[in-house]
Symmetry: C2
Subunit: 370 residues, 2 copies
């Protein structure tokens, strides 16, 4: 019996993005064990390349065996104990998710909210930090639900000065925008593999500063999650390579190849490619009546939130997305949360950040508009 | 730059096992989105095949986006609240891990221990259940650290009669031994993909009975883990297909193919193949001085714990394992926990449960013994 094949899709939603043939080839290598020296060499390489991409010297920089949402939980669950105060910036669904995750850990959460499509107000964050003296300040670098790029330093610096630990969501920014965790003063950060890295979903690249690990070592109670406890993960992902759980060998082999591609291109060229593609997208969509939700100053290059024109609303936006998928093989994302039904989220991430992606989407939309 | 290749290995440790070319081909398919109808059809198929393999009609039967250890945490974190009593059977490292996971959730854990290499004493479990009236009774079906197959019903039945929820670790048994969650009265079970399913590591097939979901709905506090909360997961893995996190599309495509292979062979034939291979292994290793740790009555067919002969101890067991790997391309597992240094764990799982695996290992050992 033959393997069932998925249809061919151009993935221009909020992730996954398309994966190159080279990464798929790495993914499909015959397996080795998770303690095999050949695998551990690949893991070392992944960890070193992730350090460069995150802009950090943090030793505990690793691909967590979970998705980006699990990475969020890992960062918050390690740094927060029940009763601890946290200030969370909410500029969309993923900031909201951070609040919910922190609350379930038992934290006392102060939300600092902003309108969807805008960046967090650094002054409001500073005020909440000064008022509540939190253990953790958490926010999202690239808010995947709105397409906003949050300036990190204006929040991270005062948070660190107030003695807080800074947690940053880099799910959509890693490998699309340059990151500088150490320079920014970020203590824990997480990402996903299926966005600008253009690897399959299922791993969460993450990084924990020595300061964060000291905090974990000084906890009054152990981390609620055995699986995500960084003090245990450090046994395998550090130099000892002691068994903790079975690492996802194939996914990590694919990630290694994805990271090689990023470094071959160079982060500056990669960022420029993302910026050129999104500029072309906005230029080409404007005559079709789409308008960006986010002002240029804080607009993400890899994910564009577009207000929908009347003809799309009249047609039914969900129906048109389904038609784009079925007739043209193109996936775009709908709005999430408050923005459901009123925006599309168009991703030009990693492999897909190319003019050819823009051209295919625009041609399909022109045909559908008729 | 070419993709780095792993060396070719025959994986006869405690997992991962070797993955067939067909499953690797499914893994390496170009991606579709996690909400694409084509992917959701594959996910439906995976869920239905998992139900048959687990022996259950539980609607919430799904591949959790985590490894087997994360599946353990999912089952315990959903069913236990801080202060709840749990009885955990400890017949090796993985039973011990269940205690640690349950304790971190805040449960009051009663351990019922047995000597490594023996099965749990059902009478001792019954006594602990009667004495502590636990919310959860948890134990391991196939203890990967010792090679013991635990009879399920003599523990599950009295546990259910006492009103407890039964959690079963099926990491190493799924797809190697027939499972019957519903007939046994198991409320929550989890497995891994890298053992008898012969898929890459990184997913945890799991199943939750309606009774378990009712318990979760009636909790006093939300599940500590947002990522693993089955009441949220049911939104995506149930009929609504609402976004929760990005499902690992490629890994699930590979799992679909692995499950097709299992059902093409048929579970009875597959179990017989595992039993024949392990019988041959024991027969062939005996003249080399290896002796089974576990008595025949409760011995697993897919994982054999073998006491080491003097010549292996004299040579250095870890050194010989390294030499098997480097010179012969064969991985076998060392002992874990109390059994480190005194046993090997030899897996004949899924694709590797064949006489040819036994022959290659035995030939290599004969050459090494000289």
């Amino acid at each position: 019996m033959a393997v069932t094949s998925f249809p061919t899709r151009l993935l221009l939603g909020p992730g996954p993005s398309n994966v190159s043939a080279r990464v798929l080839e790495a993914l499909a290598q015959p397996l080795v064990g998770h303690l095999d020296p050949a695998f551990l060499a690949t893991l070392d390489e992944v960890q070193e390349r992730l350090r460069r991409l995150f802009g950090t010297r943090n030793e505990l920089t690793l691909p967590l065996s979970t998705t980006g949402s699990g990475g969020m939980e890992a960062c918050l669950a390690n740094l927060l104990e029940p009763g601890d105060r946290a200030v969370v910036g909410v500029a969309g669904v993923f900031g909201e998710r951070m609040c919910e995750v922190a609350r379930r850990i038992g934290a006392d959460v102060t939300r600092v909210e902003t309108e969807p499509g805008t960046a967090l107000d650094a002054a409001a964050m500073r005020e909440a930090i000064a008022r509540t003296e939190p253990v953790v300040v958490a926010f999202v670098h690239a808010e995947t639900s709105t397409g906003v790029c949050q300036p990190v330093e204006p929040i991270a610096r005062p948070a660190r000065e107030a003695g807080a630990f800074v947690v940053l969501d880099c799910v959509t920014s890693l490998a699309g925008l340059p990151l500088a965790l150490d320079a920014w003063g970020v203590d824990a950060a997480y990402s996903g593999t299926q966005k600008c890295l253009s690897c399959p979903p299922g791993l969460s690249p993450a990084s924990f500063a020595p300061r964060a690990l000291e905090r974990v070592a000084a906890r009054r109670r152990p981390v609620q999650s055995w699986y995500l406890d960084v003090s245990l993960l450090a046994g395998y992902y550090g130099s000892e390579r002691v068994y903790h759980h079975t690492a996802p060998v194939s996914m990590i082999a694919a990630l290694a190849e994805g990271l090689r591609r990023v470094e071959e291109e160079g982060m500056a060229a990669r960022e420029a490619r993302h910026r050129e593609a999104s500029a072309a997208l906005l230029r080409e969509l404007e005559p079709l009546g789409f308008a960006p939700l986010v002002e240029a100053r804080v607009r993400l290059p890899m994910l564009s939130a577009m207000r929908l024109p009347d003809w799309v609303i009249a047609r039914g936006e969900a129906r048109l997305r389904r038609e784009l998928l079925e007739r043209h093989g193109i996936e775009v994302g709908g709005g999430l949360g408050k923005l459901a039904g009123s925006i599309w989220r168009i991703g030009l991430m990693g492999e897909n950040a190319r003019l050819s992606s823009v051209e295919r989407l625009v041609a399909a939309l022109r045909r559908e508009r008729g």
